[in-house]
């Protein structure tokens, strides 16, 4: 798949110029793939592999996807596999769940997860809880996917992060990719999983290119759900994040490295079931913990991580209280200066790390 970062028209995306052409390179000139294309590839491969897989949602077919994630799929697979729905989230989510119960493998796209609130009863009550309520009789192999969290200037009703909301529910699996490899591996695993999986993508990451390792180019490349990845080894502090903030953490780590502080950056990849083992092992090594997320602080992903660390073996290894870096506890304001201060910045992460280390 050719690298198309920055050249692709993204009509419904609002991406600041700075973010559009960010590359993560290593020495070898490997394949560069955008997150968008990685998800597209993953869905394409699974649609090809299993005819029970289909995609439905608003503008996914003839418009090529509101954010162009499903570009080319309708042309390739047609009306029966790629379905444009009316603007009726509760309705089409319910239809998707029914299809999953009857044996198909739907991918239900929410244009953003903000709209999933219209359909949340279907996600939780019809999808998540059913296998339990039926004592193992009725699985619901469905994927709910779409962009989650803050974008740029889309204001209060379109910027909410749902990681904590969905992560709260037993019966659901919740994944949150950061880079292109995460996106492809996780969407494929999600589609092959027999359980309801919520995949929280990020609109601002769609256009970002990453190096695509050789194994990721395989049609059987899967990333296991429930396993975090250590993106960067370190010794002084464990920094745990999911989605776009992982990139911010790596930036912070680069800055701090110049001052002799080595951060171990963990990319959660899965919100639920959470890979607490990897976090604990890291904390037992570094003795310090900072969590980073885009969502609101109260009852968030970071809060859960801190609580679990308290309850487990890693607590005794902490030299300082764990600290959370999060979105500000306000509905997302529109004005740029307010919005900038409502999302965690690299400087906020650096500040928190230094405070934790008592520097």
């Amino acid at each position: 798949m050719a690298a198309v970062s920055g050249l692709v028209r993204r009509p419904l995306e609002q991406v600041s110029g700075l973010l559009r052409r960010r590359f993560h390179r290593t020495a070898s000139a490997a394949l560069q793939v955008t997150v968008r294309d990685a998800i597209n590839q993953g869905m394409d491969e699974e649609l090809e592999r299993d005819e029970k897989v289909f995609l439905l949602g608003e503008e996914v077919a003839q418009y090529d996807g509101a954010y162009k994630v499903s570009r080319g799929l309708w042309k390739k697979y047609g009306d029966k596999r790629i379905i444009d729905t009316p603007i009726s989230e509760m309705g089409f989510a319910g239809i998707a769940v029914g299809a999953a119960m009857a044996g198909l493998r739907p991918i239900c796209e929410f244009m953003t997860f903000n709209f999933s609130m219209q359909a949340i009863d279907q996600v939780i009550n019809s999808a998540a809880k059913t296998y339990y309520m039926s004592a193992g009789l009725q699985p619901v192999p469905i994927v709910f996917r779409g962009p989650n969290g803050a974008s740029a200037g889309v204001a209060a009703q379109h910027s909410q992060c749902f990681a904590a909301w969905y992560g709260h529910c037993p019966g659901l699996k919740v994944v949150s990719p950061w880079n292109a490899e995460d996106a492809k591996g996780l969407i494929k695993s999600a589609i092959r999983d027999n359980n309801p999986v919520v995949m929280l993508e990020n609109e601002l990451m769609y256009g970002v290119s990453f190096e695509f390792p050789l194994e990721a180019q395989s049609k059987d490349f899967l990333i296991p759900i429930g396993k975090a990845k250590i993106e960067r080894q370190g010794t002084h502090v464990t920094v745990v994040a999911h989605s776009r903030p992982v990139g911010h953490c790596l930036e912070a780590a680069t800055v701090l490295s110049k001052e002799g502080i080595e951060c171990e950056v963990i990319n959660l990849r899965t919100i639920r079931p959470m890979d607490i083992d990897t976090i604990e092992a890291s904390v037992m090594k570094t003795n310090h913990l900072v969590t980073v997320e885009g969502g609101w602080p109260q009852f968030g992903v970071g809060a859960e991580i801190c609580a679990r660390v308290m309850e487990g073996p890693a607590f005794n290894f902490l030299d300082a209280p764990a600290v959370r870096v999060t979105g500000a506890d306000v509905p997302m304001p529109y004005a740029k200066v307010l919005e900038d201060n409502s999302v965690p910045q690299v400087k906020d992460i650096i500040f928190a790390i230094k405070k934790t280390l008592n520097i």
């Binding site: 009509p11 419904l12 995306e13 609002q14 608003e58 503008e59 003839q62 418009y63 509101a66 444009d84 009316p86 603007i87 009726s88 989230e89 509760m90 309705g91 903000n114 709209f115 609130m117 219209q118 974008s151 740029a152 200037g153 889309v154 204001a155 209060a156 009703q157 379109h158 602080p297 600290v323 959370r324 870096v325 999060t326 979105g327 500000a328 506890d329 306000v330 509905p331 304001p333 529109y334 004005a335 740029k336 200066v337 307010l338 201060n341 409502s342 999302v343 965690p344 910045q345 906020d348 992460i349 500040f351 928190a352 405070k355």
Partner: protein
């Protein structure tokens, strides 16, 4: 020069005091005071009678409607420009082409009636009393915006106007609302601005029945020519009277068209042809239709309307100037207005050491 002289002379001779709010020259007997126009008959559902098929347009009202529609038109085009210049961010849904809907609606109701709408709200913001200045400054996210820069395009409010809402399209919810409104005979007009497309999907691909005025089932409905402001006004008056008389809710489908795409991120031509857009613009443009009516029936002169155009342009330019120079809201206010009527409290920022104050 001669024209100016003639106008000045006629002004003196007519003795009619000049209107303080506009520089429109009031001439003497060259203009009709009012004209009766025939308007399109509305399609009716579950109604024995409908709005009248003729209505009187006074010169005064005509000029008022023209100015309002032209203001909204120019304001939306200015917003388009400001968006492309990156002064406006995020989502921006423009309503140029649909001006007759909001202006006609307002002409048929009272300021004390309550209105709520979707994200394509800028026109309603204006007709519900917000100034162009406060609208544009909100779009650019400045402290002089009607929501102090905190809401943006989809979240503008004023007295008896409940926004501007970003999450729409829940078809189930509208049927729940229909049921309760009918059950309890609530005086509610349900309006569908049918511009033929649900985002990028033509209505034929999204709706099992596109006769939206009939979709209230047990609720009567009318289908209105949404490009003709007089049609909208009369239909609105009819609908409002129906509700006020205690008969319960009514559905009103306004057939209209938007020139822009769904939002500024949508070019609007991948699912529609340019020919279609051009055809609507040249045959059914609401501003043009009113203008032609007024000029052809001597309710106003072309020059007079051009003067209004100049005034409007100036108002928009001034507002845009304000909107691009007014400062952003102060950071200290980021935590304000979380709760109503409560004591101040502390709001957490991006890490535990960043704190903001929240004032009701």
């Amino acid at each position: 020069m001669r024209k100016m002289l003639a106008a000045a002379v006629s002004r003196v001779l007519s003795g009619v005091p000049q209107k303080p709010t506009s520089r429109v020259l009031v001439a003497s007997c060259n203009y009709s005071k009012d004209v009766t126009f025939e308007i399109k008959k509305c399609d009716l559902y579950r109604l024995e009678e409908g709005p009248p098929v003729a209505t009187v347009l006074t010169r005064e009202d005509g000029l008022k409607y023209y100015k309002a529609m032209q203001t909204i038109r120019r304001m939306e085009l200015k917003a388009d420009q400001l968006y492309k210049q990156k002064f406006i961010r995020g989502f921006c849904h423009l309503c140029d082409g649909q001006e007759a809907c909001c202006v006609g609606l307002e002409a048929g109701i009272n300021p004390t009636d309550h209105v709520i709408t979707s994200y394509r709200a800028h026109g309603f913001c204006y007709t519900r009393g917000l100034s162009v200045r406060s609208i544009l400054a909100e779009l650019t996210g400045r402290r002089g915006g009607c929501a102090k820069g905190k809401g943006g395009s989809m979240h503008m409010y004023s007295k008896n106007f409940y926004g501007g809402n970003g999450i729409v399209g829940a078809q189930g919810q509208i049927f729940e609302a229909y049921n309760m409104a009918a059950l309890w005979k609530l005086p509610c007009i349900f309006i569908c601005e049918n511009n033929l497309y649900a985002m990028g999907t033509a209505i034929g691909r999204a709706a099992a029945s596109t006769d939206y005025y009939k979709r209230g089932n047990f609720i009567p409905g009318l289908r209105v020519d949404g490009m003709d402001i007089l049609c909208v006004r009369e239909a609105t008056k009819f609908a409002a009277d129906y509700c006020r008389s205690g008969k319960g809710p009514i559905v009103m489908e306004m057939q209209t068209y938007r020139y822009h795409g769904h939002s500024m991120s949508d070019p609007g031509v991948s699912y529609r042809t340019r020919e279609e857009i051009h055809s609507v613009r040249s045959k059914s443009d609401p501003v043009m239709l009113l203008k032609d009516r007024m000029v052809n029936n001597k309710l106003a002169s072309i020059e007079e309307l051009k003067e209004i155009d100049v005034e409007v342009r100036k108002e928009i330019d001034d507002a845009a100037q304000f909107a691009t120079t007014d400062p952003e809201p102060p950071l200290e206010e980021i935590g304000h207005h979380i709760y109503s009527s409560g004591p101040p409290f502390e709001v957490r920022g991006a890490n535990p050491w960043i704190k903001f104050k929240s004032i009701s």
